[in-house]
């Protein structure tokens, strides 16, 4: 069975420019198309418009939190194929468990290594070829 990674659409929801810049660069190096927004309201609109394959979601940001965006995606039957990767600086030990319980597919706590991000992106966007 071979794994093939074609170009995917990735929505980056991150309010901090520095980290957003770095993440965008890393993901585009993987050959994917990245669209970045900086708050929850813009994220809601972008999801409806672009229907991304993967959403990288910060939790603490202006407007609806990453948890809310995650819950909305999972409640929308038309978005069931969307993968969600939570990125957060929260040190709460329950953050991972909460994220996964709300429907996230992956969780990374900041600060994280670039390799970790790239690994999670690859894992979540891998397509199985017959």
């Amino acid at each position: 069975m071979a794994h093939r990674q074609s170009a995917k659409s990735v929505l980056l929801v991150e309010d901090e420019d520095s980290i957003a810049l770095a993440l965008q660069f890393l993901i585009e190096r993987e050959g994917h198309q990245v669209h970045r927004v900086a708050d929850g309201v813009a994220a809601q609109a972008a999801i409806k418009e672009h229907r991304p394959d993967l959403v990288l979601l910060d939790i603490m940001m202006p407007g609806p939190s990453g948890y809310e965006i995650c819950q909305e995606i999972r409640r929308d039957p038309t978005l069931q194929g969307v993968k969600i990767l939570i990125l957060t600086a929260s040190g709460n030990p329950m953050a991972r468990r909460k994220s996964l319980a709300l429907g996230a597919d992956g969780f990374l706590a900041k600060p994280f290594a670039n390799e970790a991000v790239q690994g999670e992106v690859r894992r979540l966007l891998t397509e199985r070829a017959a």
């Binding site: 030990p93 468990r97 706590a109």
Partner: protein, 742 residues
């Protein structure tokens, strides 16, 4: 020593006893003083005097009459005979009359008066319920009714006094019981110590704080538990300052395992002149608080250390990257690598410090061991009061948390869930959470789910119940947890709240072989009689000694020929009280097979002692338990043979004072009496469950009971001090050497 047959002062002599019983008077050969004679005897002598006087008068009259007769007349002889006859008849007549009168007087006056006096005397010294029978005193005129009235008045007064005393005793007992409950539940360790630093009173908190350090009990040495330096310094300061304020200081346990914030106040003993000056010591365990504070300080220091340096390096390196000289690719590459390295170090430090902070974040919040049952009961009660329909159920287990905050949090959530009217049949359950090794609180309901945004807004509202503005989110953070909604398939929507159990309380060693009383508060936790200091350690009164009554069960009767102990138990006697719950009770692994014949007696088999302490280890612990108490045993020579052998192998020099209940029995009842423990128990009416006989603890308790009774009897026989006992022991040495009874 006086015989019980010989009369003692105040008791009637046999002569007096016979007089009072109606027998003939008697003399003991001495001339009695008139006032010491009994009433009947005096009355008898009075009437005898009358008879004697009358007869003397008659004789004198007859002699006079005879002297007046003409001795030359022929009729004189006849007249003399007539006078003599008349005198004799008169004398006998007088004697008979006087005797009859005396008998009547004796029967109807003297005896009733003495009987009345005896009755009144008896009622003056003891309460007699029956009415005074004055029938026999009916000839005493007003004396009988007066005596009846006095007796009734005395009886009524005695009854009233007894009732008043009983009421007062009841009141005092109730107040004491309340005080005992208060003292037990004082949230800090509380100790009252004598001037000699012996524990006179302790509460359960003190036991909880110090029981893992050493023995906490009446008459124990405080400084076997705490380091003496700070305590002595505080006492010295208070004595010099003579102020009323207490001294506050830090002190540690003997080995430094725990630190306490201590508060000491001097207090006089119950009888300040003789009782000596003791002190009250309260202890608040600050071990974890200080450790927690130190940990926080260390964390803060590490934050500055581990972040400042990389941040400074990054700043310098990035600034250098902007210089024209760094256009050189190699130099630029090196600087970039340096930046990357410092960033990685910074990221690692932040991750590590963040984990340390999260771990520590929960420790400042007041936590306690609380049952999930208790938390749900509090939520249930609030929901009933506020008419929030809720059903609560729990797997009952203990959790270390702020139960009050969690109960308020869950109650607040239940209130908000029902506020919209769109959610019904709310259920709250508490389950074990395998992921966090704590609890999982789950609120579920029928109706619409909860949006995470709505929930996050709830969490930012203040926690009800007087938490000073702290929010629901603060309560979650304090427990290092979070809360979220779940909607899985067709299941009811729910809110999930995992609660870890941080900082597990240290568990006490579960020693199945240690059968000391572990649950429940001690019933004997004060004895103000211990306040009175001993006058010195020479010639100690027996009732002032502290004792450990002990017994052992063994593999056989040959302590020097292969037999070993399989059980050792002891109970403490302090101030003439047997403290049944201050005990030592251990099974022992003898390191050899237990014969079936021995098991048949004490019921201990090899399965029970597998893994139990060795005889030497047990002896070491027992010696620590005894401290400097004297020992009492039934046939102490036998049990001590084992203990002395074990002490010798450990190189321990242990020379306690030892009393033997077999010897006490020989002193009191004679060597030929039965001295077995069963015989002593029967003699003193000491009962015990048959199943406890021939168990070390059961036999120790019986021995303690009979020992207390015999010690009291010995005091009555003049054996009051240790030196008296030792003298008696010397006299009965041969008897003891002849062998054991038990």
């Amino acid at each position: 020593m006086s015989s019980s047959v010989e009369p003692t002062d105040g008791a009637p002599s046999p002569m007096q006893d016979r007089m009072q019983g109606g027998g003939a008077p008697d003399w003991n050969g001495e001339t009695p003083s008139w006032t010491r004679l009994s009433l009947r005897l005096r009355m008898f002598l009075f009437f005898a005097l009358i008879v004697a006087g009358g007869i003397a008068v008659i004789v004198a009259a007859a002699v006079y009459a005879g002297s007046r007769l003409d001795p030359s007349a022929v009729a004189t002889t006849k007249a003399q005979s007539a006078v003599l006859l008349t005198a004799i008849v008169a004398a006998f007549g007088l004697l008979a009359l006087t005797t009859w009168v005396w008998l009547m007087f004796d029967e109807n006056v003297a005896k009733p008066v003495m009987a009345l006096a005896s009755e009144l005397r008896a009622r003056a010294h003891s309460k007699i319920e029956r009415d005074l029978d004055a029938e026999d005193a009916r000839y005493l005129g007003d004396l009988a009714p007066a005596a009846v009235a006095i007796a009734k008045g005395l009886s009524d007064s005695q009854s009233a006094l007894e009732e008043a005393a009983a009421r007062e005793r009841e009141r005092i007992a109730q107040e004491r019981a309340r005080l005992e409950e208060v003292v037990r539940d004082v949230p800090v360790g509380c100790l009252l110590c004598s001037e000699a630093h012996r524990i006179v009173l302790f509460n359960q908190q003190a036991v909880d704080l110090l029981d893992t350090i050493g023995e906490v009990g009446l008459s124990r040495d405080l400084f076997s538990l705490l380091h003496e330096g700070p305590v002595l310094a505080a006492i010295d300061w208070l004595k010099r300052s003579r102020g009323n304020d207490p001294a506050e200081f830090l002190c540690t346990t003997r080995g430094g395992e725990r630190m306490f914030q201590a508060r000491l106040r001097l207090c006089p003993g119950p009888a300040a002149v003789n009782g000596g000056e003791g002190y009250v010591l309260t202890l608040n365990d600050v071990t974890y608080e200080l450790a927690d504070h130190a940990g926080r300080e260390m964390l803060l220091r590490d934050v500055f250390d581990q972040i400042r340096r990389p941040a400074a390096n990054i700043s310098s390196t990035v600034a250098a990257l902007g210089l024209p000289e760094t256009a050189d690719p190699k130099r630029r590459q090196a600087l970039q690598a340096a930046v990357v390295g410092e960033v990685k170090a910074l990221a690692t430090a932040i991750t590590t410090l963040g984990q340390r902070y999260e771990t520590r974040a929960a420790t400042w919040w007041p936590m306690a061991e609380i049952s999930t049952d208790g938390i749900l009961a509090a939520v249930r009660a609030r929901c009933v009061a506020e008419e929030i329909p809720l059903i609560a159920s729990a797997d009952p287990f203990t959790l270390r948390c702020d139960g009050f905050a969690l109960a308020r949090l869950l109650g607040d959530l239940a209130q908000r869930l029902t506020a919209s009217g769109e959610r019904q049949k709310i259920t709250l359950s508490a389950l074990r959470d395998t992921d966090s090794d704590g609890a999982l609180f789950v609120l579920s309901w029928d109706g619409e789910g909860v949006q995470i945004g709505e929930l996050e807004a709830w969490l930012d509202t203040p926690l009800s119940g007087g938490y000073s503005g702290l929010t629901l989110r603060d309560a979650l953070r304090s427990h290092g947890t979070d809360l979220w909604p779940e909607e899985i398939g067709d299941d009811r929507p729910r809110l999930v709240l995992p609660v870890r159990s941080p900082g597990e309380a240290e568990a006490k060693a579960d020693a199945p072989f240690d059968r000391r009383l572990e649950s429940g508060a001690r019933t004997h936790f004060y004895d103000f009689g211990l306040f009175t200091p001993m006058s010195g350690d020479t010639d100690i009164p027996l009732d002032r000694l502290e004792y450990v009554v002990f017994d052992s069960e063994t593999t056989g009767l040959l302590p020097y020929d292969g037999d070993e102990i399989v059980q050792l138990a002891g109970v403490r006697i302090v101030n003439n009280r047997l403290l049944g719950d201050d005990r030592f009770d251990l099974l022992v692994d003898p390191g050899r097979p237990i014969p079936a014949s021995a098991t048949a007696i004490h019921g201990i088999c090899e399965d029970q002692i597998r893994g139990a302490p060795t005889p030497a280890e047990t002896t070491e612990r027992f010696v620590r338990f005894c401290g400097d108490a004297a020992l009492i045993a039934h046939n102490a020579r036998f049990d001590l043979a084992f203990l002395n052998r074990y002490c010798a192998t450990m190189g321990q020099d242990w020379q306690p004072v030892v009393l033997d209940t077999v010897l006490m029995s020989a002193i009191l009842f004679g060597q030929s009496a039965e001295h077995s423990l069963d015989a002593l128990a029967e003699r003193f009416g000491v009962t015990f469950p048959e199943a406890t006989r021939h168990t070390a603890l059961g036999d120790a308790l019986v021995t303690g009971d009979v020992a207390l009774k015999m010690l009291a009897m010995l005091r009555g026989r003049g054996v009051e001090r240790l030196s008296d006992y030792e003298r008696e022991a010397q006299r009965h040495q041969a008897f003891l050497a002849r062998g054991s009874t038990g």
